[in-house]
């Protein structure tokens, strides 16, 4: 039997020290993804360091920023009055993710760290460069209905499955991490990476770096946000395409806008060109449509997922319309 050691630590420093000391260890929090990966034989850590006892669950205002501890539960964040009032887009995205049971276990840090749901990644008898570099990408010429249309490489066309991260990408959140070389802050858009030649690497964390929390700067979007998730059933299904839309309206003009998509890339996909187009313009369906066309430039389908080339812009328009109350 593949036995593994299990320890619990109480501080971030102890967590980092334990991981650095032991090259084959992994942290575990809610375990909603890691345990699956272990059962499937995708990963087999020899040591698990349980970080659930770390004091990283708090959701609070720090100055103008909203700070959420890495171990805050997805359901706690979604239900938090503070989050619902100040950053409703985040609450909406969390509610759209997984199931209530999973949200009750999953943490914010774990949500960011979850692996792709690409079936070729999970089935150890099939080729996957992310699981086993050099094997080839099973999805590239296989079943790729759920796969990326942006930023993929011929090594990997998987998508990041999170809903929460799409909202955080839109909201310009930062990720607080601590590691052997000290603490640092990572802009959310630099946290996850594109597959490139190294699809096995999901993010830009260094070995031994632990997420301690996220910070969301204050914004004026609370009145006009919408997280649209298009999926095959109404709950407990990953996004075909999702859109996080946040609009700051001044009368009928768009003062500021944020747009990000899920289900389309190896990372949450921020739609900067569309945002820039919309700033200062009127909130009309025609403008939304033009922005969506800008957003979709450079998108590429792989066969089964070609429909996303049409769905993505339509979903952008729909999310914007709903956010500004014109749907």
């Amino acid at each position: 039997m593949i036995n593994f050691e299990y320890i619990r630590v109480a501080t971030a420093k102890a967590a980092v020290d334990a991981l650095v000391k032991d090259g084959v260890a992994q942290w575990i929090a809610g375990g909603t993804n890691l345990v699956d990966l272990m059962k499937k034989g995708v990963t087999a850590p020899q040591k698990l360091i349980d970080i659930n006892n770390l004091a990283l669950k708090e959701i609070k205002k720090e100055g103008s920023k909203l700070r959420i501890g890495a171990l805050a539960l997805n359901s706690a964040v979604a239900d938090s009055e503070l989050v619902q009032k100040e950053q409703p887009l985040l609450a909406q995205a969390l509610q759209a993710g997984a199931s209530q049971q999973i949200r009750n276990m999953a943490t914010v840090g774990g949500n960011m760290m979850q692996r792709t749901r690409c079936p070729y990644f999970y089935n150890t008898d099939m080729p996957c460069n992310k699981r086993q570099p050099g094997q080839g990408c099973g999805a590239l010429k296989g079943y790729n209905r759920m796969h990326a249309i942006f930023g993929a490489s011929d090594k990997c066309i998987a998508v990041h499955p999170s809903d929460m991260c799409v909202a955080l990408a839109a909201l310009d959140a930062t990720v607080q991490v601590t590691g052997p070389k000290g603490s640092r802050s990572i802009p959310f858009l630099s946290f996850h990476r594109l597959p490139g030649e190294l699809p096995q690497k999901d993010n830009t964390l260094e070995r031994g770096e632990l997420i301690t929390g996220i910070e969301i700067p204050q914004n004026a979007f609370a009145k006009s946000t919408h997280y649209l998730k298009v999926r095959d059933r109404s709950s407990y299904a990953f996004a075909l395409v999702s859109v996080a839309a946040a609009v700051d309206m001044q009368r009928n003009a768009i003062r500021d806008v944020r747009l990000a998509m899920g289900g389309v890339a190896h990372k949450p996909w921020r739609l900067t060109a569309a945002e820039n187009f919309l700033k200062g313009k009127e909130a009309t369906e025609a403008n939304f449509g033009q922005a969506a066309q800008l957003a979709i430039q450079g998108a590429k389908g792989y066969g089964h997922n070609n429909f996303k080339l049409k769905l993505a812009p339509n979903a952008i328009v729909e999310a914007l319309k709903t956010a500004v109350g014109k749907s």
Partner: protein, 747 residues
């Protein structure tokens, strides 16, 4: 016809599911939950190729792993007597040779069992199973139906020969005609409870199994034949089933493997499939390509139906179902042609699933009827009523009962059909298009044979025994309801013992026939019990026996919860306890077999399903707002469980229409969405209010209750109702299930 006019009482309080509390509190024991001392654990290792031969299989490291008791492969498997004779050890029989597990090195499909690892704990067996390493001589597999359609052939035997009534393919020359193809993917039953068995040998020629089966009797026969045992030496228990939907209608190789393994180690063995194995080793609804040709006159009279279906089967067996048969009798039409073909693919054998082939066939026929109605500029219900079959056009017999028109009427009223516009895209709410659709369903109202034993005890308890089991529809509740009605006894005094071969033989749970079959037997045994009680009450010394009256008849008596009394003088009475005591009987026991008679009638149940939904064309999303399911299933015996069964069918139909499909990667010949996260069945949020309406008029011929089967018609017709509503909303006809957002956008 029955004298007692059973269930004629207009208002009865429907009783709650009698085993409901046990099921939701963990009190109900399922196959894998029986606590058997010294049980070892088995796990099946599957082939990683979809066709070929096992070149070498290395079991050494598995055998050396801690706790491992045995590893069985084709190289060391005990000889199974039934495998050597070539006799089909599976019931019901199918054409071809069922898979003989560990029989030789031949691989027919991906994940076909190649080894059974047995260890002392579950964790150890899982680990050891990963250590079994096999090498294969790969051959080119075929799993792609479209690419293999040219291999389609007529199944063996007379039942599936081409059918022709009137002129062949007459639709081609009809004034108004329609010809379309409808595709249905592979669907997997996916009950909550996984395939599970505990096998325990009690000596060399006697075995007891606790297994997930819809029929303990047919499992007993299969094990008897496979292992060459006497039937009475094979005991099968399956009191509770955590859903099955058809998947447990036969004995699968995993069950034979577990019994083989238990014999090999001389210990009880438990084997529970993993969810992934439920996708590969225990059947599924086959992929089916159908072509419908319809012809009509300009005023909407059907003149021709051609219905062709080609379904997949396994390389070693012919699985057949009645996919095209509904087109022979559902509508009055003088020219009908049906053709049914099979294509063998490198997958395991399919098995009947929810409404089985009739549900698949009805998707095609009822979609085509909707298309033709639109072409004729007719309301789809009006079109159906114009072609209503007043007698059975296939067998030229009158119906035993048919209240299909009442279903159309009841359902139209409830869904608000009058608000439906004939033209699609006529109703818009914001960016959403609203549509209405309907579909008809029908399934044979069968009745088989069942034996029920009734035991009336001195404590006023009535025990009913039958080997039939309950996979969810509420069989025990139905039995309790009938006995309660018959005996004038409250349900709490009635106990049902079921799901074991030690009990009087009942039918397999399937084919919508259990209520008709077992319910009739309960009715008959209760009637006989009352005769016996009347006879005992007639004896000298009984208060009913007077100088003038030497005999009381059942009709003279009132039967109640504690005893019987004289109808015309309630003061003349006796308790069951007294009556039994006077006759020195600890209890009154009676066993009665009942079976359906051949009648000069055709018996079918009918359903009509109505759907109101919204479609968001830009994103392809579909939201169902309302479902109304109406059924003509004769007398409704157990209203609460019947309603639940109809709701379950509607949910299954929504899954079939909008989300369920196994995705194969044909390069590897294996399913890639083999889990419940990626294979979507509806969640609560997908299901709107489901209104269930019953015509609730008795059938005079089927059985004493006047009931007809319900299980299959609950789903037959739901999928076309959804597809037809999508058309009514959008003007887009999607003929390939499931109707996912991408198809809505691309249509």
């Amino acid at each position: 016809m029955d004298q007692h006019h059973f269930f004629d009482a207009p208002e009865r309080d429907p009783i709650d599911r009698v085993d409901g509390r046990a099921k939701v509190t963990g009190g109900a024991t399922y196959s894998a939950e029986y606590k058997i001392q010294n049980t070892a654990y088995g796990f099946l290792v599957g082939s990683t190729v979809a066709k070929g031969r096992i070149k070498a299989i290395d079991t050494k490291s598995a055998e050396r792993a801690p706790g491992v008791l045995a590893v069985i492969t084709h190289l060391n498997a005990p000889k199974i007597p039934g495998y050597q004779t070539g006799k089909d050890p599976s019931k019901p029989q199918t054409g071809g040779q069922p898979l003989r597990v560990f029989y030789n090195d031949e691989i027919f499909y991906y994940d076909q069992p190649i080894a059974l690892v047995i260890a002392d704990t579950y964790e150890r067996v899982l680990h050891a199973a990963k250590l079994v390493k096999a090498q294969f001589e790969k051959a080119a597999h075929q799993t792609d139906m479209e690419a293999n359609l040219a291999k389609a052939k007529i199944p063996t035997g007379p039942r599936f020969e081409d059918y022709k009534r009137g002129e062949l393919d007459a639709y081609k020359n009809a004034p108004v005609k329609l010809e379309q193809q409808y595709n249905h993917p592979v669907e997997v039953h996916n009950p909550m409870e996984l395939g599970s068995i505990i096998a325990r040998w009690e000596g060399a020629d006697k075995v007891t199994v606790y297994t997930k089966t819809q029929g303990v009797g047919s499992t007993q026969n299969s094990i008897r034949d496979a292992f060459g045992l006497k039937a009475e030496n094979v005991t099968v228990h399956a009191e509770h089933i955590g859903g099955a939907f058809g998947m447990a209608l036969r004995t699968w190789p995993y069950e034979i493997a577990a019994i083989m393994g238990a014999q090999k180690i001389g210990r009880p063995l438990k084997l529970m499939l993993h969810r992934e194995q439920m996708f590969t080793n225990v059947g599924y609804r086959p992929e089916t390509v159908q072509k419908i040709g319809l012809g009509a006159t300009a005023d909407g009279k059907l003149t021709a139906i051609t219905h062709e279906a080609t379904a997949n089967t396994s390389p070693y067996e012919e699985f057949t179902e009645a996919t095209v048969n509904i087109s022979r009798f559902l509508y009055a039409c003088s020219n009908v042609t049906t053709r049914y073909r099979l294509v063998p693919l490198n997958v395991c054998t399919p098995i009947w699933m929810r409404g089985p082939g009739e549900a698949t066939g009805c998707f095609a026929l009822e979609s085509a009827m909707d298309e033709l109605a639109f072409a004729l500029n007719l309301d789809p219900i009006e079109f159906r009523i114009r072609n209503h079959a007043d007698t059975d056009p296939e067998r030229n017999l009158p119906w035993s009962s048919k209240f299909l028109k009442e279903c159309y009427e009841l359902g139209s009223d409830r869904i608000g059909w009058k608000d439906r516009k004939l033209q699609p895209r006529a109703r818009q709410e914001g960016d959403w298009l609203v549509g209405y659709g309907m579909g008809t369903g029908s399934f044979g109202a069968f009745r088989g044979s069942a034996t029920v034993k009734a035991i009336l005890q001195r404590d006023n308890k009535l025990v009913l025994q039958c080997s039939v089991n309950d996979m969810g529809p509420g069989t025990a509740t139905m039995m309790t309801t009938i006995a309660s009605e018959q005996m004038g006894m409250p349900p709490k005094q009635i106990a049902v013992q079921m799901g074991s071969t030690g009990l009087p033989p009942g039918p397999t749970q399937g084919g919508s026939m259990v209520t008709s079959t077992v319910g009739a037997a309960v009715h008959d045994v209760c009637a006989a019990l009352k005769e016996q009680l009347a006879a005992l009450a007639s004896k000298e010394g009984s208060p009913f026996h007077t100088a003038n009256v030497h005999e009381v008849k059942v009709d003279d008596l009132v039967f109640s919860e504690t005893g019987l009394s004289l109808k015309r003088d309630g003061s003349v009475k006796i308790s069951y306890a007294d009556l039994l005591q006077r006759n020195s009987l600890p209890a009154l026991e009676l066993t009665k077999e009942s079976r359906g008679q051949n009648q000069p009638y055709s018996s079918y149940s009918y359903s009509v399903h109505f759907v109101k939904l919204r479609v968001h064309p830009p994103t392809g999303r579909i939201k169902i707002d309302h479902i109304v399911s109406c059924a003509d299933a004769g007398t409704i015996v157990s209203p609460k469980t019947a309603e639940s069964q109809m709701i379950g069918g509607a949910v299954g139909g929504v899954g079939m229409a909008l989300m369920e499909a196994v995705v194969m990667d044909h390069r590897f010949g294996r399913p890639i969405n083999n889990n419940l996260a990626d294979y979507h069945v509806p969640v609560n949020a997908d299901i709107p209010k489901v209104d269930v309406l019953f015509v609730n008029k008795k059938d005079p011929y089927t059985n004493p209750m006047g009931s007809k089967g319900l299980g299959e018609i609950a789903i037959i017709g739901v999928a076309p109702a959804v597809a037809n509503a999508v058309f009514n909303a959008t003007g887009k006809r999607i003929r390939s299930l499931p109707i996912t957002p991408d198809k809505v956008m691309e249509a």
